[in-house]
């Protein structure tokens, strides 16, 4: 059985090359909670924004991302599936929406209104993704965790601290499991599981040993956490807001409102 694990040969799945990068810029220094609020405000305004603002924001975003060390090329390769889907969105709208025909392809007509509507939707989605990317590149996972805990704390019934802990475990477990998966696959291949034709059999005999291993890793992990006195009531990551954070927040909100108003 041939299997494909995208990512590094060693078996570690890098979820994405677009991830946190060390840096000391202004965006890195910004309080994560403020970044979240700005991100949400801008995302909401993007959903309503017209072509002009979209173009402006998109240029700004791309410039910002390349300044942060994320090249245009790596962005396009990383987002290729999304780009294909967005192209599909554009084409479907352009060919199905009634309106003034630009050209005809057999029985289909490419309408100007449809193309405009499709482009607008695709651009908005792309921009929301790029906004998210900026946050990811400039914010440590620990800060994201702390900010989420801070936002969830006021909600009764939501165990904010536990959710933060599970975020950390999730990030820790992905590389651990991907190595275990690659090893299990090699072992099963050596035992000739791939020669079996029945796909259910192959799937079962890959998944069972892999999950067994990962379960015992999870068991040991929870014992190790207990041994280190795990409790939900623990010291959190420090988040401190400065004057500059408030200033940036104000600018972001004003711009968002401006986009919505025009």
């Amino acid at each position: 059985m041939h299997m494909r694990v995208a990512g590094e040969p060693a078996g570690v799945i890098r979820m994405s090359p677009i991830s946190y990068r060390l840096g000391t810029g202004a965006l890195h220094a910004l309080d994560a909670r403020f970044k979240f609020v700005i991100l949400i405000v801008l995302s909401l305004s993007v959903v309503k924004a017209g072509a002009l603002h979209l173009a402006l924001l998109a240029c700004g975003q791309i410039a910002l991302l390349s300044f942060l060390g994320c090249s245009f090329k790596s962005l396009t390769t990383e987002l290729r599936y999304l780009l294909v889907l967005l192209l599909l969105v554009f084409l479907v709208r352009a060919f199905t929406m009634p309106g003034e025909a630009v050209f005809r392809l057999y029985w289909l007509s490419f309408s100007r209104q449809g193309a405009a509507a499709g482009a607008l939707i695709a651009a908005r989605m792309l921009l929301v993704v790029l906004l998210g990317t900026t946050l990811v590149i400039t914010t440590r996972p620990a800060e994201i965790k702390a900010a989420v805990e801070w936002f969830l704390k006021p909600f009764p019934g939501l165990p904010a601290a536990r959710i933060g802990t599970m975020f950390g475990l999730l990030l820790r477990l992905i590389p651990l499991l991907s190595v275990q998966f690659a090893e299990t696959m090699d072992a099963q291949r050596a035992r000739g599981v791939e020669n079996r034709i029945n796909p259910v059999y192959r799937l079962t005999w890959l998944a069972i040993p892999f999950l067994r291993r990962s379960f015992s890793a999870a068991d040991r992990l929870s014992i190790a956490m207990e041994a280190r006195c795990y409790t939900d009531d623990r010291t959190g990551h420090r988040l401190t807001a400065t004057r500059r954070d408030w200033l940036v927040l104000a600018v972001g909100i004003v711009y968002g409102i401006f986009v919505l108003a025009t």
Partner: protein, 196 residues
Amino acid sequence: MTDSHSLRMSVFAALFAALTAMGAFIAVPIGPVPIVLQNLFVMLAGLLLGPRWGLASVGIYLLAGFCGLPVFAGGQAGIGRLIGPTGGYLIGYLPAVYIIGRMTRGSDHRLLREAGAMVLGTLLLYACGVSWLKVVTGLSWTKALAVGMLPFLIGDALKIAAAIPIARSLRPVMQTEVPAADPMRMETAGRTGSTP
């Protein structure tokens, strides 16, 4: 002090969240379309963790991705992935895992019940996924179903068929708290005994 059962379940929920994240990258080429294992892990989360912790595991995965932690495939960080054309499939995991966990909870895990739960869960998943795909792309219902559901059905049937023996074999491991012994001992125990 946190009680160790809930700590253990949290670790297992995080484990299934991590499996779900990885599942988007792991493709097994069976038949014409390689099948991606993500929804297999979601179904197993329902079967093995039950409705509450199953929901927690999918919820943690989605929330982490929503907040920009690198758990979504293809660099589509944050909200963009969820409101994007295929976001509905991710949201659909929530009702799917819940219904699968709910329907199989506490029963003696009969074959039909488990299979039925997974079929229902898969239908809920497509209900969310395909309708959002239709909204975003503007495709007609028939086209949306043809693009967003039909190609995957054979793979889904295989996964449902595989999920039953997998869950059966792992449920004892899940339920009996094995104070982690030596890995070597664990493995021999896994091979010889502990089948239901």
